[in-house]
């Protein structure tokens, strides 16, 4: 494709008016391509936060789509730096704007379906792991997933961003539009709640 752009550019220099029109289209297409290359690799991270924040799959799908369209519309205002927190902040806003105050969802405990543990783990088989270990690990993941889903919203989002999406405190602060001190206190509180819930779940019926 680079070839085409080069050709158009040289033709443009020749001063042909047709070329100018083509170049504008090319820039639009180029902007979309740049956006896709930067933003689409983070789709799974965005989708993960949406699935934890919103109750059902189709709402999460809609929110993620709206997030990407909104991000593209405002792509000109994106000032470089890491794009992932910027996208996550937009997603969070979309969730708040579309669903806050709406009784059917946001920040409700019961999320739709659990993450697909078979798809989420590496798709090659690890030789070291026995089927029993796999079942146990899967079982534990399901419990953890459920407990995170049951956390109050302000703790859930920092836990998902830190533990699952692996964001730095600074990036989390950007996403939730709060100072780093708030990130720290919510994370400390969230981990405490999660750990206590985990221990309680372990106590029930022998295994978590």
């Amino acid at each position: 494709m680079g070839g085409v752009e080069r050709i158009m550019f040289s033709a443009d220099k020749a001063g042909n008016p047709v070329m100018a029109g083509g170049a504008v289209d090319g820039n639009d297409g180029g902007k979309a391509e740049r956006f896709k290359q930067l933003a689409l690799p983070h789709l799974d991270a965005i989708y993960t936060l949406a699935r934890y924040l919103l109750r059902n799959t189709s709402d999460a799908d809609d929110a993620v789509q709206e997030c990407y369209l909104r991000a593209f519309r405002h792509f000109d205002s994106f000032r470089g730096g890491p794009i992932k927190p910027w996208l996550l902040a937009i997603l969070r806003n979309v969730c708040h704007a579309s669903y806050a105050g709406n009784t059917r969802l946001v920040y409700t405990a019961d999320a739709g379906s659990e993450p697909d543990a078979t798809a989420a783990k590496p798709i090659w088989r690890e030789d070291s792991e026995t089927p029993e270990q796999m079942v146990l690990r899967r079982h534990e993941s399901e419990t953890m997933w459920r407990l995170i889903g049951e956390l109050p919203a302000e703790f859930k989002e920092v836990i998902v961003l830190r533990e699952i999406n692996d964001l730095s405190y600074r990036d989390i602060a950007t996403v939730i539009a709060a100072p780093i001190g708030t990130v720290m206190s919510r994370l400390a509180r969230g981990r405490k709640m999660l750990r206590e819930a985990w221990i309680a779940a372990e106590g029930e019926g022998g295994s978590p």
Binding site: V18, D28, Q37, A39, P115, I123, R191
Partner: protein, 250 residues
Amino acid sequence: MNCEEASLLLHALIDGELDAGHARDVEAHIAICPNCAAQLREFQEFRNGMTPASLRYTAPMSLRSRIEGKLPARAAGTNRRSVIKGFAVGATASALAASGVLVMVMRSDDEQRILGEVVSAHLRSLQAQHLTDVQSSDQHTVKPWFNGKLDVAPPVIDLTALGFTLLGGRLDYVDAKPVAAIVYRRRVHVINLFCAPAPGSSKRGAAMESLYGFNVRRWTENGLNLWAVSDINADELTEFGDKFEAALRQ
């Protein structure tokens, strides 16, 4: 430092978010406070027990294509026509030059389409149970598996010692023709190396392309077109290609 401050900061310590000065303060407090020391240990253990990979969701392909469909498409079609039209009416461009441009544009479009197919094949392979037809880290198992399935014997090279683990092979289709897909992994990232017979084509050096966030290293050698596709960064994919080419020549 008191316990209240420490109980907050020990999380930042676990996360590696403290500067040296604060880290030293927290560690000094923990050294003299068994209560906070126990807390630190408990949270560290709890965190080590979490498996983030199993808590992540993977966005469905349908959502990915829905989003891509809603974003403006690359305006290649109109551009090509206007370029051709421009040259047709342009007084400065000779007919010969115009035909040369036409061939170049068409060929580049064709390559772009095949690039899209290669990336799609890579994405399909990442769906559960689609990655390998023959699963082995032994090149002498993977290579013979392709016998009789393709017109050529694809180069299967074990690069495990160089940081790219051979996972196996798969028969795939690109441009409606059967191709060999040799599957490697780098840490948690999958690399698909597609090999298609290209009889009579001359050697072409590597070119790095990027499509939908995936990097593709494309080159032609020994009558084969090769594409290495992965979500690893361009530098590492270049390293993979260089090591593969070097091993091939040995």
